[in-house]
């Protein structure tokens, strides 16, 4: 399992109810169910992925998070997880609002556009960055609203969203991000994982 999922799994207490939005082939859900006795539900757009979840015996609803989160009642989950897709929605603010409505807490991860390699690509080469976490080129990227860890920090502050914990992920290392080290962590983290709500 990838590092990001390990970090997310560590944030989730045992025996809780978790909705994984954009659950892919269910690998995170499977881990949470097997290892932490978490009651999982998934929402996934891709038919093959849905198929794989069903094959693993994981409950999954085929649908688009942008338009179909309304079906989940208020506070019906302890946690809602959204991994690296916030930037791909037309209206990320609306999606985030919905996640905070559905879950008592929300875990959101983002590919960090403030990562130094990304900055260098744009600053010195004058090209849209293509990296391991951002593998697409400008014309075929699903990402419409790229942001940095600092951006999401600011966003939560402005919208009065309670930030419980932020973790920066870089290769195999993780670090706790606070206001005091935000500038430097924003430069050296590939991913930001936010526990909010």
């Amino acid at each position: 399992m990838k590092k990001e999922f390990k970090v997310i799994a560590e944030l989730l207490p045992n025996d809780t109810r978790v909705l994984d939005v954009g659950c892919g082939d269910g690998s995170l859900m499977n881990f949470l169910k097997q290892e932490k006795n978490i009651e999982v539900r998934g929402l996934e757009l891709n038919q093959d992925n849905v198929q794989q979840c069903i094959h693993k015996g994981l409950p999954v609803i085929q649908g688009n998070a942008e338009t179909e989160l309304h079906q989940f009642p208020d506070k019906s989950f302890d946690y809602v997880v959204l991994s690296q897709t916030l930037q791909a929605f037309y209206e990320p603010e609306e999606v985030l609002k919905n996640l905070l409505r559905i879950g008592k807490s929300v875990i959101v991860s983002i590919p960090n556009f403030g990562y130094w390699k990304v900055r260098i690509k744009l600053l010195f080469f004058g090209e849209m960055p293509v990296t391991k976490t951002l593998p697409n080129t400008w014309y075929n990227t699903p990402n419409l609203h790229m942001c940095t860890i600092k951006d999401l920090f600011k966003f939560c502050d402005e919208k009065n969203i309670n930030i419980k914990k932020v973790i920066g992920v870089n290769e195999d290392t993780t670090s706790l991000i606070k206001k005091g080290n935000l500038e430097i962590k924003n430069l050296f983290s590939k991913l930001g994982i936010f526990l909010i709500g």
């Binding site: 038919q47 849905v50 198929q51 979840c53 069903i54 094959h55 609803i61 079906q71 009642p73 019906s76």
Partner: protein
């Protein structure tokens, strides 16, 4: 069709030899009347294992019957769900014990309008009580009792079969470990009621129908019934699917005949489907079953709350819809998912992308069959483990 009377006689003789349960306990119908000591025809496939944890109940659709797979002994045609059920199929009869009963109101051996009314010693016809989806489901519960099955591994059905399934889960919340409603709805839409009304009016407009009394004369309002079936067949396809299958192709001719014969392939197809149907189905049964579908409104039963209907669910659901189905749309199927979600039930949902319309659930639709198999097999593993604990 000169031999129709003979055919009917022959069918009734054959119907004597199929599996039937005599339901002795009385059943109070939603219309207020009571039936008792009535026949419920059924068929089973595969073997019930020692733990009795491999039973799958299939509910059939409007024109279906208990002969899910193999050869239908009455019509000598393939079972209606041979694509999904059988040895090595998605619902594998080498592994699972598959049960299907003919609905009451039907005409394949269960109590229906062509049965003899004990009061008049004549076929019921329109004296048969109006039945509902809930009545159908309650009647079938007796069969599970008879077969000694406390809890089904899975119950499934498409179209009206899916509606029976939803009713079954709401009425008997502990009877199924898992459930797969396919291409159905929790209440019949205005469009579907309208199409059913069209089918009924076609039958009733046939002079042979005679207020349903045709049965005692050993005839059948075949023209009306055929039209009713044609309406159905149009609604089972999609615009695109129909265009691709038939387009404007002519039926074995080079040019128009300038007549009202079936010039177009699509006309020929409908006529064939319509008139083949009259050989195996009773017109009054269509009236009664379509009526049951129209009255179906699960949320009405639970004071307007579909969520309430699913409140007591421990059943694990998989809802499946087909993208080009305009009879039971993806939207209607999603409403079921939303209600199940809101009630906290364990629910999965998949929309199969296809041009084949409502009929898709009966066809060889690989994505659909794969999903069906994945779900049932994974549920079987869970059910076994749960029972062991």
């Amino acid at each position: 069709m000169p031999s129709l009377a003979g055919l009917f006689f022959w069918m009734n003789v054959k119907l004597e030899n199929i599996k039937k349960l005599n339901v002795s306990k009385s059943l109070k119908l939603d219309c207020g009347k009571t039936i008792s000591n009535f026949p419920l025809a059924y068929e089973t496939y595969g073997k019930l294992n020692g733990n009795k944890d491999n039973a799958v109940l299939v509910f059939h659709a409007l024109t279906g019957d208990q002969f899910v797979t193999g050869t239908n002994p009455i019509t000598k045609k393939e079972g209606w769900w041979v694509t999904a059920v059988g040895p090595g199929k998605a619902i594998d009869t080498n592994k699972y014990f598959v049960i299907c009963a003919n609905v009451i109101g039907g005409c394949m051996g269960s109590l229906g309008p062509k049965n003899i009314n004990p009061d008049t010693k004549m076929p019921y016809g329109l004296d048969f009580p109006v039945i509902t989806i809930r009545d159908m489901v309650r009647a079938q519960e007796s069969l599970l009792e008879h077969l000694g099955i406390k809890k089904l591994l899975c119950a499934t059905g498409g179209s009206m079969g899916g509606m029976q399934l939803l009713q079954f889960c709401a009425t008997f919340p502990d009877k199924a470990f898992s459930a797969i409603p396919i291409a159905c709805s929790s209440s019949h839409s205005a469009q579907n009621i309208a199409l059913n009304e069209l089918a009924r009016q076609a039958i009733m407009a046939d002079p042979v129908w005679e207020n349903g009394k045709y049965v005692s004369k050993n005839v059948q309002p075949k023209n009306g019934l055929a039209v009713a079936r044609m309406v159905g067949h149009i609604s089972y396809l999609s615009e695109k699917g129909m265009q691709e299958k038939f387009g404007r192709k002519l039926q074995e001719k080079a040019d128009y005949e300038f007549s009202f014969n079936a010039d177009f392939q699509v006309e020929s197809y409908l006529r064939h489907q319509g008139y083949a149907f009259v050989e195996r189905f009773d017109a009054n049964s269509i009236l009664y079953i379509t009526r049951a579908m129209d009255y179906f409104d699960l949320s009405k039963q639970y004071n307007g709350g579909l969520v309430e209907a699913f409140k007591k669910q421990n059943t694990k659901f998989l809802v499946i819809s087909f993208s080009s189905d305009w009879l039971y749309t993806t939207k209607e199927n999603k409403d079921i998912v939303i209600a199940l979600n809101a009630s906290g039930a364990d629910v999965s949902y998949s929309e199969i992308i296809t041009d084949k319309g409502h009929d898709s659930f009966l066809l060889n639709e690989p994505e659909f069959l794969k999903t069906l198999k994945s779900f049932i097999d994974s549920m079987y593993e869970k059910f076994k483990n749960e029972k062991r604990i």
